[in-house]
Amino acid sequence: MRDVLAVRGLNKRFGGIVVARNIDLTLHAGRVVGLIGPNGAGKTSLFNLISGVVKPDSGTVVLDGAPLDPLKFHQRIHRGLSRTWQHVRLFPSLPVLDNLLIATRDYPGERIVNVLFGRRRLKEHDEAAREKATDILGRMGLANVAHSLVTDLPYGQQKLVGVARALMGEATCLLLDEPMAGVEGASYAAMQRVVREVADRGVAVCVVEHNVAFVRDLCDEGIFMFSGAIMARGSVAELIRDPHLTELYFGH
């Protein structure tokens, strides 16, 4: 199992609140790791620290052998990191397909010089991106809504689009923030299938999730966080059975 992401000694405090307490975390290719813990445990903060949205007080993040620490958020995405958001954060003024087309790892259309003088390159890129986006949407059962506005979709489908968008960059490490919250029925099954497929292709996946059934069915491993620290790592079934962790989770 190849190490894809290695987090070492990560610390962060906001005033008196410690959101990361000496965190060590390794994510492996092809494995899905579930990050569980009560609200306020620091799960989303850990994603923010890894992706560079928030700068840590100390510690390092290494992706595929290269340190990410000096890089900004968007530069880390270029290196093969990808993440989704708890509250989706799609682009409401763009149709579903365009939400994906803009999310390729390299998007030549973001440089005005290419738009003015590199028409051929843009066209070639656009064709490839459309093919990829259509394929991803098809696998998620979203082919029929490719031209809809994201705001017209039910919430569960919006969540799927969020994951689809995060897959456009062909990342080696995927961080999913509560992909299942508000997702039901066909979207639920599609989400489960897609995340598994992504991992099977060799991507290291980390999922923050409160849905215990989803974590148990999908994750190869669980990590329990509490008050900014990693308390335990092991099989999800073990973590769920542990009376000490249950107590922390429910706060008896």
Partner: protein, 295 residues
């Protein structure tokens, strides 16, 4: 005829200013008021290059455009590194400061203005040829902005305005896009300035004061932000209407205030009855709609 030619040139140049400002504030979502300063930079730089350094006028015009573009990058780079709000503050300082500099330098002619700017085309081919040049530039700028807004770049601008954090989370660099948008828009304002200088052959600093910022902003807002024709309609209306009033033969003491009233009155009326402007923008990015329709 000379009056009408001058009017067409002025309206055309304001269409360029409004269309390029629409790129900055409408499509880019960047709030700046310094647009007239880049107009001024283009005018002064082109005038100085042509008169004092004896450059051929077309080259001087290119130089003026380049100076405005470079100055806008110098302004945007430090302020956008911090946040978008700083651009507004920096632009106010830049506008007030630079106009003071122009007023107090010898080689800009000081507050009495820069005179004897070399003419272009008019002596050899008549005024109509210059009017044609301005109209061609106007059409070029309007369609350039429209084309960019509907290209892959327009898709990115739409996404950036929607959600900057999500925009970064897919690997896009919002800061450089903003700088490029600001530079292009300001460069086009510089071009308008250069075209102004070699037609009217005289510029003074007070032509580019805060009132001009308000005028250009009003043209974009009243016409309709983030649309192709909004700034065109806005510039036509707000430049032509005060000129038409001049035909009423009112004494200057009455005419000035009436034009001012018309100006602010229009903004007030639009604020209440048509906040989307004369030409309303679509909520959906037009490029996607255009692609769908052509399918």
């Amino acid at each position: 005829m000379e009056y009408l030619d001058g009017l067409i040139v002025i309206v055309g140049l304001y269409v360029i200013l409004a269309a390029s400002f629409n790129l900055i504030i409408g499509y880019g979502g960047l709030v700046s008021i310094a647009h007239p300063v880049f107009f001024a930079l283009g005018a002064y730089a082109s005038a100085i290059l042509a008169r004092d350094l004896a450059l051929p006028v077309p080259l001087a015009m290119l130089g003026g455009t380049a100076v405005a573009l470079a100055a806008s990058i110098a302004l945007a780079l430090p302020s956008l590194r911090v946040s978008g709000d700083y651009l507004l503050i920096a632009s106010i300082g830049f506008q007030l400061g630079l106009l003071e500099v122009i007023k107090n330098l010898r080689f800009t002619g000081g507050s009495s203005g820069f005179i004897n700017i070399p003419p272009f085309l008019i002596r050899d081919f008549g005024r109509a040829s210059y009017v044609a040049l301005v109209l061609a530039a106007t059409a070029g700028v309007v369609f350039l902005v429209r084309w960019i807004a509907r290209s892959d770049y327009g898709r990115a601008m739409s996404a950036m305005r929607d959600d900057e954090l999500a925009f970064a989370s897919i690997g896009r660099n919002a800061m450089w896009m903003k700088i490029a948008i600001f530079a292009l828009g300001s460069g086009l304002a510089g071009l308008a300035g250069a075209l102004y200088a070699h037609y009217f052959r005289f510029v003074t600093p007070e032509q580019f004061e805060l009132l001009q910022s308000a005028a250009i902003l009003t043209m974009v807002v009243v016409g309709g932000m983030r649309t192709t024709w909004g700034p065109v309609v806005g510039a036509l209306l707000l430049e032509a209407l005060p000129q038409a009033l001049a035909f009423l033969n009112l004494p200057p003491s009455v005419l000035g205030p009436i034009q001012g009233l018309l100006f602010t009155g229009l903004v007030l009326v639009f604020m209440f009855f048509r906040p989307q402007g004369l030409v309303p923008a679509q909520d959906v990015w037009r490029g996607a709609r255009a692609a769908k329709e052509s399918r």
